[in-house]
């Protein structure tokens, strides 16, 4: 018995995880408990060093001192304010009038506004609620099919997930240990493809089933000429300013994603104030919602860290790796499996649960298979969009149910209406799998490395156990160059030795590399303003 347990700790622990989550107690606490129970068993069996609890403290501290996670409250707060600041109204009315004369015009308007809102904010709830409140009544009034109307609104709301600045991508970047900026750049192509797919579907519908997407009658299009222009401007100008404030500053390297989120909060507040929507109640509700989301997200992460610390200690990483690398079909087989797996999990699990519990299990395998983690992350982001859309638990549908009158729109219509859009999103995943260039095209090209100019600076090995340093792939020559910290990761094709070289022979719990960076190390960017400001007193006054 004991021998069986000793040899099968990882599978048993995984079963414990499934059990702990499925009973329905808040996941943060149940997975932490699973981690602790197996941790103590592991110590008894001599699989884990008894001082793993000390390491746990360190992990907890790494979570709360992670600057990147600050983006979660900021983007959430920004979303809750934008939801009700009147911006979506202006945009939808403007574009609705502009495209109204076309068949499916209101659908195009919803998709475009969904994309614009997506480029401003990072949370789905904000988009779906705002668009559902405004567009759904209009679409139903002018004879759009209920299924199509609810489907297009929910789907366009989820565009937010993929269009930068998306909170999902921030969290995935953190979990995969990649830069948020690169993740955002990688998501540009897929976002455009998705918008094109959605519009294409509306265009097909308007030919095949014109009765579902009628054009607005002329009397419904009250705005023409300058008033229409003014209406569109009134929606677009603040949007563009906000997009610049958040996304522009990230892409230009002016602000970290966290700071961009914070500036977005200020921008949203100013916009709400200009539109005379800024009330104390709105602000307080937004802050309280944000506080609750931040708390539960941090606790899931704390619980997940407790679990994964022990899971890695008992050899869970190797177990998962063994399972997944044995899949037929190599990289493509792995990707298809992962996508189906995540797609199914997303029926039951919240996005944050997938990101914090499941992704850390998959990421090392992906890296070992030589998969570009940016591509992998964007692909997973696209995949997890569907978790908002599939019946009956999709959040987007849930929000829509909350605002659509039950007398007019039965739940079955919302559920059926979502299906074509889920299929479109799955098509997007397939496109991303078989055409990786759609992601990598917008990434900065890796610099050509000339071996003569390489000046090797040895990074500090001690703390992060050599994670930052990789041996060059076997037999690939210098063309691909060694992967040094500070250089963008080059695509590696050969067998990667680093995993084998750094794998600890004993069962000591290792620290995932993404956390070590936050430990008290002085940050380069933080030091920036100091010299300027301090040099000032010495300069002669004019």
């Amino acid at each position: 018995m004991i021998e069986f347990v000793t040899h099968n700790m990882a599978p048993l622990m995984f079963a414990g995880l499934v059990f702990g989550m499925i009973i329905g107690y808040p996941a943060a606490f149940s997975i932490a408990a699973v981690g602790l129970i197996f941790g103590f068993v592991g110590v008894e069996l001599g699989l884990i060093r008894p001082d793993f609890l000390g390491n746990l403290t360190f992990q907890m501290y790494a979570v709360i001192s992670n600057d990147l996670l600050l983006a979660i409250p900021f983007f959430t707060l920004m979303g809750t304010i934008l939801e009700r600041c009147g911006l979506a109204e202006d945009l939808l009315e403007g574009f609705g009038q502009l495209f109204g004369g076309l068949r499916g015009g209101l659908s195009y308007a919803v998709i475009i506004v969904g994309a614009v809102l997506g480029a401003i904010t990072g949370t789905v709830a904000a988009s779906v609620i705002a668009m559902g409140l405004i567009s759904l009544p209009v679409m139903l009034k002018y004879g759009y099919s209920k299924r199509h109307a609810t489907g297009v609104i929910a789907a366009s709301g989820t565009i937010t997930q993929l269009v930068p600045p998306s909170l999902v991508l921030v969290v995935l970047a953190d979990q995969l240990g990649r830069s948020v900026g690169d993740m955002y750049k990688g998501a540009i192509g897929p976002s455009l493809i998705q918008i094109a797919l959605f519009m294409g579907w509306v265009a097909i519908l308007s030919v095949l089933r014109p009765q579902d997407v009628p054009a607005l009658p002329p009397e419904a299009r009250t705005l023409r000429g300058w008033p229409l222009f003014w209406k569109c401007t009134k929606g677009m100008v603040p949007s563009l300013i906000l997009i610049f404030l958040v996304l522009g500053t990230i892409f230009m390297g002016l602000a970290t994603p966290t700071e961009a989120g914070a500036m977005g909060v200020v921008g949203a507040l100013v916009l709400a104030a200009i539109n005379r929507r800024l009330t104390w109640q709105l602000l307080w509700q937004g802050m309280e919602t944000t506080m609750k989301i931040t708390a539960f997200v941090v606790f899931i992460l704390l619980g997940a860290r407790t679990f994964s610390l022990v899971f890695q200690g008992v050899g869970g990483k190797e177990w998962i790796e063994g399972l997944l690398t044995a899949l037929p079909g190599g990289v493509t087989g792995f990707l298809i499996f992962v996508n189906v797996f995540v797609f199914i999990l997303a029926f039951f699990l919240d996005f944050f649960e997938i990101a914090f519990i499941i992704i850390p299990l998959l990421a090392p395998v992906a890296e070992k298979l030589g998969i570009d983690l940016i591509w992998f992350g964007v692909l997973l982001g696209a995949n997890m969009q569907t978790s908002f859309m599939h019946p009956p638990f999709g959040f987007a549908l849930f929000y829509l149910r909350g605002i659509a009158p039950r007398s007019q729109v039965p739940s079955s219509d919302i559920y059926w209406g979502a299906i074509p859009w889920v299929v479109l999103q799955l098509m997007l995943c397939a496109i991303l799998i078989f055409w990786p260039t759609s992601v990598t095209y917008f990434l900065d090209k890796p610099p050509v490395v000339d071996p003569k100019n390489i000046e090797i600076q040895i990074p500090s090995f001690g703390k992060d156990g050599g994670v930052g340093f990789q041996l060059p792939p076997l037999g690939s020559g210098f063309g691909q160059g060694p992967s040094l910290p500070g250089f963008p990761t080059l695509p590696t094709t050969g067998p990667d030795l680093s995993g084998a070289a750094t794998k600890a022979p004993d069962a000591k719990p290792s620290e995932p590399s993404s956390q070590t960076q936050t430990q008290d190390s002085p940050k380069v960017e933080e030091a920036k303003p100091e010299p300027k400001a301090e040099a000032k007193p010495d300069e002669p006054k004019q």
Binding site: M21, I22, I23, G24, P26, A27, F29, S30, A32, A33, L36, L53, G54, L56, T57, M60, Y61, I64, S65, D67, L69, L70, P73, L77, T123, V124, T249, L254, A255, T256, E259, G261, A262, M263, V266, M291, K292, I293, T294, A295, F296, V298, F299, G303, T306, D350, E353, F395, F398, P522, E526, A527, P529, E530, K532, A533, E534, K536, K541, Q542
Partner: protein, 202 residues
């Protein structure tokens, strides 16, 4: 039972009060972070401005003050984040918004849910929180004893953010006890739990 429910109520009120601090910190952290970004990239222009106009002595003082303390401000950002999360978690537990997997939970009766919450509270939440308080407290004590400072120049002392870990888990522990009392009350008396399960917002 009444006495226990009274105790539970006292915990609820206390944690509600604490959570208000967390709510405020959300906004403060956002404003501070935006201010940090603004100062960092506007500082050259600000210095220029102060140099050209002598009467803007106050501005100069602000710039100098900021320059000396900029790392403190940057660190205050995530201190606030840590406080928000750990001060807010207990209240979030009270209003039943810690996210669950509702595959089973969503489909069973209120009584079964109460049993699940009781079981989870006793076997998951309490042990986790007790262990966490137990392991993080000495960490804080050590930090306090040596008066540990940030390794960044002009940074903040480290002990507050190390204190928040045991305190936050302690608050969640208290709230967990309060919830267990409510579960027992709901199972044995006609007490009705206030916060029925709903889908959490995301």
């Amino acid at each position: 039972m009444q006495a226990l429910l009274g105790f539970s109520h006292a915990i609820d009120v206390f944690n509600r009060w604490i959570s208000r601090v967390a709510v405020w910190l959300v906004l403060l952290a956002a404003l501070l972070s935006a201010g940090n970004a603004f100062f960092r990239y506007g500082i050259v222009e600000l210095i220029d401005l102060a140099r050209k106009h002598d009467q803007l002595g106050a501005l100069q003082a602000i710039i100098d003050g900021y320059g000396r303390n900029s790392n403190s401000f940057l660190e205050a950002q995530w201190y606030m984040f840590a406080f928000t999360a750990l001060f807010g978690a207990a209240y979030t537990l009270k209003v039943n918004e810690h996210v669950r997997v509702d595959l089973l939970y969503g489909g069973v009766s209120e009584r079964t849910r109460t049993w699940i919450d009781l079981f989870g509270g006793i076997f998951c939440l309490l042990p986790f929180c007790v262990v966490m308080v137990y392991v993080t407290w000495p960490w804080f004590v050590e930090s306090w004893r040596i008066n540990e400072m940030s390794t960044n120049a002009g940074g903040l002392p480290r002990w507050p953010v190390k204190l928040i870990l045991p305190v936050g888990f302690g608050l969640v522990l208290l709230q967990g006890i309060s919830e267990i009392i409510k579960c027992v009350a709901a199972l044995t008396t006609d007490y009705v739990r206030e916060h029925a399960y709903e889908k959490p917002l995301q």
